[in-house]
């Protein structure tokens, strides 16, 4: 098993009057090389769960393991290191850095690794051209269309060659045609051996034949697996 969640709980504003129990005692396993989709209505806790799997936040209680390593409880330095080499993120709002070019945005996650500049640049260019973005290589990202922005976000998620790709509502800002195209890209990545985790309430995503497994959530709990 690649990722194992054991009795995960997440409380927001713990101990305050507006305390909120967002994730309730979830245990879940995620297999390597598969596409897993978290489905559920808005507010059911998909993003919260995803961010704990991706080490962007810590569970209030419970355990997250990556292969044999217990991630919950590791100090931030080690977490960052693991996150860097293990997870690539594609956010709903793309979250590209405005003012920087496509190339710079894609190279950004590799900066702290101190790689050779030429090599880094050429691998970024290869990735960008693979996703058909040659033409906009040096354009600032705010000039891009939604579909282009998302492909840049995918390139950025892949630059450090992570094993697991995490995409939160990746099609929320795309029309259905672009969403189909996105699923095509996901298929390609799965075939290259990546593990993929997607949240969505878009039927284009969860009804897609590419998805191996659907986990349905409701009110912070897994209702169907």
């Amino acid at each position: 098993m690649l990722i194992t969640l054991t009795n995960i709980n997440k409380l927001f504003n713990q101990g305050k009057h507006d305390e909120f129990h967002a994730i309730r005692d979830i245990s879940l396993q995620i297999e390597a090389g598969k596409v897993t989709c978290l489905k559920g209505s808005s507010g059911s806790g998909k993003t919260t769960l995803l961010s704990m799997i991706g080490c962007l936040s810590r569970p209030t209680s419970g355990r997250v393991t990556l292969e044999d390593e217990i991630l919950s409880g590791l100090p931030e330095r080690f977490l960052t290191d693991i996150r860097r080499h293990t997870f690539g993120f594609i956010f709903q709002k793309f979250n590209l850095i405005q003012g920087l070019s496509v190339l710079e945005n894609v190279m950004l996650p590799a900066y702290p690794l101190g790689l050779n500049h030429k090599e880094l640049k050429s691998s970024a260019q290869k990735l960008i051209s693979h996703f058909g973005l040659d033409r906009v290589l040096h354009n600032p990202v705010e000039w891009l269309s939604g579909g282009e922005s998302q492909r840049v976000a995918i390139c950025r998620a892949l630059i450090n060659d992570p094993r697991i790709l995490i995409a939160d509502e990746p099609t929320a800002n795309l029309d259905s045609w672009l969403s189909q195209e996105f699923m095509g890209l996901i298929d390609e990545l799965r075939q290259s051996g990546k593990t993929i985790l997607i949240t969505s309430h878009d039927p284009v995503v969860f009804d897609s034949p590419i998805v191996d497994r659907i986990v349905e959530m409701q009110d912070g709990q897994v209702v169907q697996n």
Partner: protein, 376 residues
């Protein structure tokens, strides 16, 4: 090792491009910052070198000035007092002087008129300081008038004092002793004071004591006392300027502190993105640290350089109004350029340090919080 260096290079690179991305804001910041450093550095350089200049000039003045007192007031001193003093151990020369202050109502300034005995001048010739020449617009050969004893006296300008020590000589007027006696009515054989040179500075006080024992109606004025007075006057002026500057400094602290709690939503989001894509808090801190260093160091260097040029090459034009009251014939002197390590260090500490700390704190706060907020 090579990776570490490359990483720093990437960070600096990213920092520079970040700075350029927010050009307007950062140039505004740089401008305000530079201005504050400029003002602080100008005052420091100016007052310091002025003090130094005055010190150098006073070094050349006599160790003891002997004045005669009549009824507790400064009176003329007869030349035979020199003989009456007799032999004083340690005194290398005694000289009687004729000099005084003359007010010119037209330019509203006091001239220092001296009649040195070693100068060969006819009764109608005068040598004037550069400040006077500039203010009235006089050149060699022109006529210069002095008012005294309800009369005006005319002199022809023979020479203009050179500008080396303009600070003191700027309002100086030199005429012959004969002419001085004519315009003041001081009789032959009487002088304004007597100056003594003492070779060993440690004997000065003893000489002064002896003098008072021998001639109870004289008052010796020691150079060290004058130096102290000068010092306190300069410190006082410096004090005024510094009060103004405390205001500027406060503004600076507020300006730095203003940044402390507030990162814009945009900046926070960016920090979140960087963390999510694999940057450590430390990397972000380092980057922002570079940003602070780049801004504050450029502001520091620009401001200091501008202050240096201002004080030493434009004769501190901006301070003229503050110092005008001290001498109307404000000298356009060139101060001798100098650089003082301690002074730079002080300035550095008071400008760069608080800024960098104030900018780093909020970034530190933002960079240690979980980056999951950007997922929403």
């Amino acid at each position: 090792m090579i990776e570490f260096i490359r990483k720093q290079a990437y960070l600096v690179d990213f920092t520079l491009s970040s700075l350029l991305r927010r050009k307007g804001k950062n140039f505004g910041l740089l401008f305000v910052y530079t201005l504050i450093v400029f003002m602080l550095a100008s005052v420091m350089l100016f007052t310091h070198s002025l003090k130094k200049e005055a010190g150098i000039i006073l070094q050349q003045s006599p160790e003891i000035i002997v004045q005669r007192l009549v009824a507790g007031r400064h009176a003329l001193i007869p030349a035979d007092y020199i003989e009456k003093m007799g032999r004083l151990r340690g005194v290398t020369s005694k000289k009687a002087r004729l000099w005084g202050y003359f007010y010119n109502p037209v330019v509203k300034a006091n001239y220092t008129v001296m009649a040195p005995d070693h100068l060969v001048l006819t009764t109608t010739e005068v040598i004037i300081g550069a400040g006077i020449a500039r203010t009235i617009g006089l050149d060699i050969g022109d006529y210069f008038t002095l008012r005294a004893n309800n009369d005006t006296f005319s002199f022809q300008v023979k020479d203009i004092l050179d500008k080396h020590s303009e600070l003191v000589s700027t309002d100086l007027v030199l005429i012959s002793q004969k002419a001085f006696r004519v315009i003041t009515g001081i009789p032959e054989g009487q002088f304004t004071d007597i100056v003594l040179s003492v070779r060993n500075p440690r004997e000065v006080r003893k000489v002064a004591e002896k003098l008072v024992q021998k001639l109870p109606d004289v008052r010796p004025v020691l150079r060290e006392e004058i130096l102290r007075t000068y010092d306190s006057i300069f410190s006082w002026r410096q004090g005024i300027v510094f009060v103004l500057l405390v205001g500027a400094l406060m503004a600076f602290v507020i300006f730095a502190w203003d940044k402390a709690p507030g990162l814009s939503a945009e900046e926070k989001r960016e920090i979140g993105i960087l963390k999510a894509i694999g940057w450590e808090s430390g990397d972000i801190l380092r980057m922002k640290f570079w940003e602070g260093i780049i801004i504050s160091l450029s502001a520091f260097m620009l401001g200091y350089l501008a202050a240096y040029l201002h004080v030493f090459y434009s004769s501190a034009v901006l301070f003229e109004p503050v110092l005008k009251g001290w001498a109307t014939l404000y000298p356009q002197f060139r101060l001798v350029p100098f650089i003082d390590g301690l002074q730079i260090a002080t300035l550095f500490f008071f400008t760069i340090f608080p800024y960098v700390v104030a900018t780093i704190i909020p970034i530190w706060k933002a960079s240690v919080t979980d980056p999951d907020a950007i997922m929403r």
